[in-house]
Amino acid sequence: MEWEIVIGLEIHVQLSTQSKLFSGASTRFGAAPNTQACAVDLAMPGTLPVPNEEAFRYAVMFGLAMNAEIGKRSVFERKNYFYPDLPKGYQTTQLEQPIVGAGEVEIHLEDGSSKRVRLHHAHLEEDAGKSLHEDFHGMSGIDLNRAGTPLIEIVSEPDMRSAAEAVAYLKKIHSVVTYLGISDGDMSQGSLRCDANVSVRLKGEEKLGTRTELKNINSFRFVERAIKVEAERQIDILEDGGCIVQETRLYDADKNETRSMRSKEVANDYRYFPCPDLLPVVITDNYIEELRELLPELPDAKAERFQSEYRLSAYDADQLTQERTSADYFEEVCKSCEEPKLAANWITGELAALLNRQEISIQDSPVSAQQLGGLIVRIKDNTISSKLAKQVFEAMADGEGSADEVIEKRGLKQVSDTGAIEQIVESVIAASGAQVDNYRKADESKRPKMMGYFVGQIMKASKGQANPQIINKILKEKLDALL
């Protein structure tokens, strides 16, 4: 039997406004507990919410970026449930008339293919506070700083068919919101959170299987693992003749398994109704058009431009445009060296490896775009070999200055002086009697391979600075003269 996995994602994105969705309290991350929870956030009697204009602006920008319909009249509703980190006893959210309607986005997969994923809608809502279950004499501690922080919840159609597609979609959303500058997209701080609805069905079957909702997946890697392990669990059950129970499940990253959240057994019955404290929010066509004008170049458009303007491959263009900061860095490097292909290789190769090792992002790169551009100029004009370029790169990463400074200080300039190279070649040949003998006796077809030994010795003797093309030329002449 061949199974098909069907996935829809609900992504919560924290908007990077200064103040909360309905109050003037700060949304800054990391403040002392409850110092940013005001009377409105605490649901003190007599308080009234007033929506934040910027949150609407961000939500509309997102909708435009997703080619979605914009809700010109959007309505807040109350979603009723009790939990200590929700002082009002309801979350103010949108349901029937959200700010962003249906849309569509293209995702790019590792194998180079792409696919369209439909957006069901996206709505504005407030975040809840945080419960801390550590030791407070058997009690829970509540921090309401996050209560009321504006979120957009982005709901996809069940259009994804593998964990890899779900990750590609999540990355796309991440990339769009960070390009727009409406969120910092930091998953480790909870600025971007993801729930996945997962079901399986036999290939060719039209009807969707019973789904489960996976909560608590807080990194790109976990999204992939959680979906895979949940799909396997469902397939095992179905193949044993069992049934899937529609429920909310928690992903446990340590054990790499999902488990049922029993507390959600009392069926989700949120008794939504329009919030009487808030009037409908009306957005004009003018406002929408003004925002459309102000939209920055988005990842897909940028990737296309990188292909046409810099002649990059689709793969490189996609890699470099996933994050706006990498794209900006790349363009900065190109400005100073005019070698887009080399720039792309260095950024996705050596630089990416360095940033990975140091666990930092490109805006904190120890090697600036100008420095990398300077290095590429020196590779291009043959001042240094690409092998030594790596050494120069490492030195720049250690704060030794520009490429020219490092090359000068360390004396790494490539030697293209034939006389000097000839001397080294001669001394190496003189010191390698046995290898020369073998070379002479060998069949002609094997000789080119055998030259490798001599090249290695010559490189070593020249401390890697001899120009490889010149070595090859002189070496071949000298060895052939001995035949």
Binding site: G24, A37, C38, A39, A55, Y81, H133, P276, V281, V282
Partner: protein
């Protein structure tokens, strides 16, 4: 529309309201009376009428994104039955 006692129990649980055994019949009857009124409303033909989300025919005013609140944590914590290290303490809840 009549409301059975099971529905009342479920609603009471969702709303975290305690309803005693003795009063549950009376509550069901009263809710049933209210729903009869709702039934009358439901009977009205509303084809082509947009749902009303608010009784006032007004549009929401938005505020600009500025921090206008100051930290008043201590005054708020003083109102809570229990607090510690700046946190409100509540009976343990965990999923």
């Amino acid at each position: 529309m009549a409301v059975d006692t099971q529905t009342v129990e479920k609603l009471a649980e969702l709303a975290r309201i305690a309803i005693s055994e003795e009063t549950i019949e009376e509550v069901s009857d009263r809710l049933g009376d209210i729903l009869q009124l709702v039934d009358q409303l439901q009977a009205v033909n509303t084809d082509g009428v947009a749902p009303m989300s608010h009784p006032l025919d007004e549009v929401q005013t938005l505020r600009s994104d500025a921090i206008t609140e100051t930290d008043q944590r201590q005054s708020f914590l003083n109102l809570a039955p229990q607090s510690e290290e700046g946190l409100y303490l509540v009976p343990k809840v965990i999923d």
